[in-house]
């Protein structure tokens, strides 16, 4: 094995064979060590949430990963290449330049908007994980659970909110909710530092101060995107319920989700349904 | 494994076995076992799991009734040439052809027991220790102190009584000579054969009986067509005996009943 072993023959065959062996060992060790080193770096730089989301996103089915511009009909089909972070996306920037969206803050019609019997006010912007973010006058952002999300959970059994002072990231874990057997992490719509926590009965869950001072919500859905998105989400909910064996009346013919959907399906695996809807595979 | 002796010219030890003289007594088998500390068969051993470094086979000419003739062939490791099939296949380099003597040597201490060499050997000259070696009480007094017994799970085979070569070498060195005296180095089977059917000596020395026997037109080697270049030459005047040098045909052979 080593040149100083008794009986070691120096020859072309030995060099090729042992050379190949040591090369393989080297390549495999380097790969594993590289992965370990990157892991250490990722942990130190606080990339856990980012990685968790990318890993979850990767496991979503193709249909669940469709680009927001498919919702508005600008594309027939397209998979999001940035894990729903449109701030990075050149295609999104180009399309926005062509059709600039009307932001809720500018629009006068900032009041209650009813969509499919649920309340989806347009003064806030929505994350595909069913949370919303609203910029406040003092420069902070309020984060809450949208109406569909709230109805899915009804009255949650318990809520785990982050400590004030802790950081949240876009599509990282904002807070955790428990209902029956469901145990879901809810995605944060924005980056920032948590300054205040709310609750189920306070109308919001978190108040977040942006780290960089400016509020960037380009990755969130607003206005004309919300309705087609919601329609799709209701279809997904139907599919999720039927996958869990619940008998579902078709919501497309005007049915409205009740205020506590979980209670309406007491025997359905609620963990699976929530996992689908809150994008946690 | 075996240090090259640069001073003596390389020998090619071989054998010339006269099949016509062999009467199947089996003394060679017994002498070999005694010399090399081959343990007696364990209980449950069959003729296919025993250790017989040299083994006498009975062959016949295939005729029936009064035309039937038999002969006896001792088969041992043929000590093939430099391309011995068993040498290149051992994964641990536990087998080599000694350049000084031409003997194909086996290192039981390094043997893993994978038995690949046994699959490679066309002469079935290699034997595996299926059991731990045990000697009945009292029999340990017959053990040869010059030869190491082998442990369970390793392969062993004839090595031309290499211990005797070492002893002859030591004696020669002690007497200040370079070459060993042929009378000092005689394998056990050669010594024991009552009819003198086995000749042992240097094939590359034309003066030896072995070399002359090998060059005789009635001499043949087994399975020469395989290109193994063995050093055991068999000699017979009978044509049907010489046929054992070639490939088998279904329906022809017989093993020694005492095998």
């Amino acid at each position: 094995m080593l040149p100083w072993n008794y009986g070691f023959h120096f020859g072309a065959a030995t060099y090729i064979f042992m050379g190949a062996f040591y090369t393989v060992l080297l390549v495999v060790s380097i790969t594993v060590l590289n992965a370990l080193w990157r892991t250490r770096r990722g942990l130190r730089e606080g990339k856990v949430e980012d990685i968790r989301w990318h890993s979850d996103f990767h496991d979503l089915s193709a249909a669940d990963r469709s680009c927001r511009h498919v919702l508005t009909g600008e594309f027939a089909s397209r998979e999001c290449p940035h894990a729903f972070d449109c701030r990075e996306c050149k295609t999104h920037a180009k399309l926005i330049a062509v059709h600039p969206p009307v932001h809720a803050a500018v629009s006068p019609d900032a009041d209650e908007a009813e969509l499919f019997g649920m309340s989806f006010p347009l003064d806030r912007m929505y994350h595909r994980g069913h949370t919303w973010a609203r910029p406040e006058a003092d420069g902070t952002m309020t984060v809450g659970l949208d109406d569909l999300g709230a109805r899915l959970l009804g009255t949650p059994d318990s809520v785990e909110l982050p400590e004030p002072g802790s950081r949240v990231q876009v599509s990282g874990t904002a807070f955790r909710l428990h209902k029956r057997e469901a145990d879901v992490r809810v995605l944060s719509p924005v980056d920032g530092e948590v300054v205040e926590t709310g609750g189920v009965d306070r109308g919001f869950y978190l108040r977040v101060k942006p780290l960089s001072g400016t509020i960037d919500m380009r990755h969130l859905l607003c206005d004309s995107e919300v309705k087609p998105w919601l329609m799709r989400e209701l279809e997904r909910l139907q599919l999720a319920l039927s996958m869990e064996g619940a008998s579902v009346p078709s919501l497309a013919d005007g049915g409205v989700p009740v205020s506590d959907i979980a209670a309406a399906y007491p025997r359905t695996n609620w963990d699976a349904v929530c996992g689908e809807m809150f994008l946690e595979p | 494994m075996i240090a090259e002796t640069k001073k003596t010219p390389a020998a090619r030890y071989g054998m010339s076995i006269d099949v016509d003289r062999c009467n199947g007594c089996g003394s060679c088998m017994v002498a070999c076992a005694v010399e090399n500390n081959v343990p007696p068969a364990a209980s449950g051993a069959t003729d296919r799991t025993g250790l017989t470094w040299i083994r006498v086979f009975r062959i016949d000419n295939g005729a029936e009734g009064s035309g039937r003739r038999s002969a006896f062939v001792p088969v041992l490791c043929q000590h093939c040439g430099k391309d011995a099939p068993c040498v290149s296949v051992c994964p641990q380099q536990a087998v080599d052809v000694d350049p000084a003597t031409g003997i194909v040597g086996q290192m039981p201490e390094r043997c893993l027991g994978c038995r690949y060499c046994m699959a490679a050997c066309p002469y079935h000259a290699r034997y595996f220790n299926w059991w731990d070696p045990t000697w009945p009480a009292g029999m340990e007094k017959t053990l040869n102190p010059d030869v190491a017994p082998r442990m369970r799970g390793v392969v062993e085979k004839c090595n031309f009584c290499h211990g005797r070569w070492h002893a002859a070498k030591a004696k020669a060195v002690a007497n200040g000579k370079n070459e060993i005296d042929p009378a000092d180095y005689i394998p056990a089977c050669v010594e024991a054969c009552p009819s003198g059917a086995i000749h042992f000596g240097k094939l590359n020395d034309p003066a030896t009986e072995t070399a002359q026997g090998a060059r005789h037109p009635d001499s043949f080697r087994m399975l020469e067509s395989l290109g193994t270049d063995p050093k055991i030459y068999y000699h017979s005047k009978k044509n049907w005996v010489r046929e054992i040098s070639s490939a088998p045909r279904p329906g022809l052979a017989k093993e020694n009943a005492r095998g």
Binding site: - | C114, P122, H124, L223, A253
Partner: protein, 433 residues
């Protein structure tokens, strides 16, 4: 109370959105396999403690059931490297549906083979000698090195599958490590392909180089006999077939659909193409062997088949019945889209490879080389069979455990409520999806 808690905890480890049977039922499934494993451990223990006289191998049958089984399961486990190669190097994205299953099967096959090998050798504690004093000219050395390295690679490839478990990935370091490992998986796939190419080949080379056994000896290219390349092609051909077969078995046992039909059709087509190449190569090789190689060594090929019961029917079964026939079925779109044809074809292909390995190991040793040899027969002892059953049970246990707690079949969730269409449409292009 404790049982309830145990069941709850068990559920937490199971992937979201898939249904698994209840814990007691799972334990009931495991019980007979555990019993078989214990019996196997006992048999192997006997062989290790008392010696290989516990087997029916002897000086003529130096290799027996274990070597034959080892070679077969290594050939069947080739699906692991080949699927990895097709997916990560050639980008056949459709195979993502079966890669995890392939890795588990590969892991089980290789580790099982190593375990059986450790019992098979006379001195297992000396196994490191092959690494310390390697004989680079011996095929067995190449086999040892490559298989050891490849088993390590498979273990490393298995790690992300384990770490993706629902509960385990909550641990941040596991989550991040799995993510980083997955980014580098193509390196491991490449190394795995390189290693597998060589060890599948050298397993064939083991017999092809035996000049003392003209039945097995083949001429070849440089130092590699033709059996080197034939073994590689047959292993690559049968890997996808074995994946089809095992996936079908798992679907039957669990009562779930686990992969889309297009995945089966893709695997079938790959297997069919390679099987056809193999049948062609094997036929050419056999003809050369019959007419040139064997006679050159002084052994006429026909005499091998005069020894009963190994007549020429064996050649026919191996090449035609278990080679050409499944190849044709797997290549015919109308037939391979129907389970009734696909599954038997895949099984036949696997049998063909098993028969080939049998012929190379057992028939080679059965045939006499000296003209006064007899044709001898061999039946494995119960200890040998027991050890083999232990390896089989180990494989089933690891796979069952992996199936229950890890995402072996990513398409399972999508397929939960889909109705199986009558005829799945064939993808037009050869596999970049």
């Amino acid at each position: 109370m404790v049982r309830e808690m145990a069941k709850e905890m068990d559920k937490e480890f199971i992937t979201r959105g898939v249904r698994r049977c209840s814990t007691p039922r799972f334990l009931l499934w495991l019980a007979p396999w555990v019993a078989m494993l214990l019996f196997g451990a006992y048999s192997a223990g006997l062989c290790l403690v008392k010696g290989l006289n516990q087997t029916n191998m002897d000086n003529r049958y130096a290799f027996g059931l274990w070597i034959f089984v080892d070679l077969t399961i290594i050939a069947l486990g080739a699906g692991a490297f080949f699927t990895g190669f097709l997916l990560y190097i050639l980008k056949f994205k459709e195979l993502r549906a079966v890669i995890n299953s392939a890795v588990v099967i590969g892991l089980v096959c290789y580790s099982g083979a190593m375990a059986a090998l450790m019992v098979d050798v006379g001195q297992p504690l000396r196994a490191w000698f092959t690494f310390w004093y390697p004989n680079v000219h011996s095929m067995l050395t190449e086999v040892t090195f490559c298989i050891s390295c490849y088993l390590t690679v498979l273990l490393i490839e298995y790690l992300p599958i384990v770490l993706k478990n629902r509960k385990l990935r909550d641990i941040p370091s596991f989550l991040v490590f799995e993510f980083e490992m997955h980014k580098l998986i193509y390196v491991l796939a490449g190394v795995g392909t390189f290693l597998s190419f060589f060890h599948q080949g050298s397993l064939g080379g083991l017999y092809g180089v035996l000049r003392g056994r003209p039945f097995a000896f083949r001429e070849g290219f440089f130092v590699w006999p033709s059996t080197f390349f034939l073994f590689i092609i047959s292993a690559a051909a049968v890997g996808p077939s074995f994946l089809i077969f095992t996936t079908w078995i798992v679907e039957k046992i669990t009562g779930k659909r686990l992969v889309k039909d297009r995945v089966f059709t893709l695997l079938a087509r790959i297997s069919g193409i390679l099987l056809s190449v193999y049948v062609l190569a094997k036929t050419v090789d056999t003809l050369i062997w019959i007419n040139r190689t064997s006679p050159a060594l002084g052994f006429t090929a026909s005499q091998y088949y005069d020894w009963k019961p190994f007549g020429t029917w064996i050649l026919f079964v191996e090449i035609v019945l278990c080679g050409l026939v499944p190849a044709l079925i797997l290549l015919t779109p109308r037939l391979r889209s129907r389970r009734a044809w696909l599954i038997p074809a895949a099984a036949l292909a696997c049998c063909g490879v098993a028969l080939n390995r049998y012929v190379q190991t057992v028939q080679t040793l059965a045939l006499p080389t000296l003209s006064f040899d007899k044709f001898l027969s061999y039946t494995p002892s119960w200890q040998e069979v027991g050890t083999f059953l232990g390896v089989l049970a180990y494989g089933v246990l690891v796979y069952s455990f992996s199936f229950r707690y890890f995402q072996i079949f990513p398409q399972e969730r999508e397929l939960r409520n889909e109705v199986r269409p009558q005829h799945e449409e064939e993808p037009v292009l050869a596999g970049r999806f």
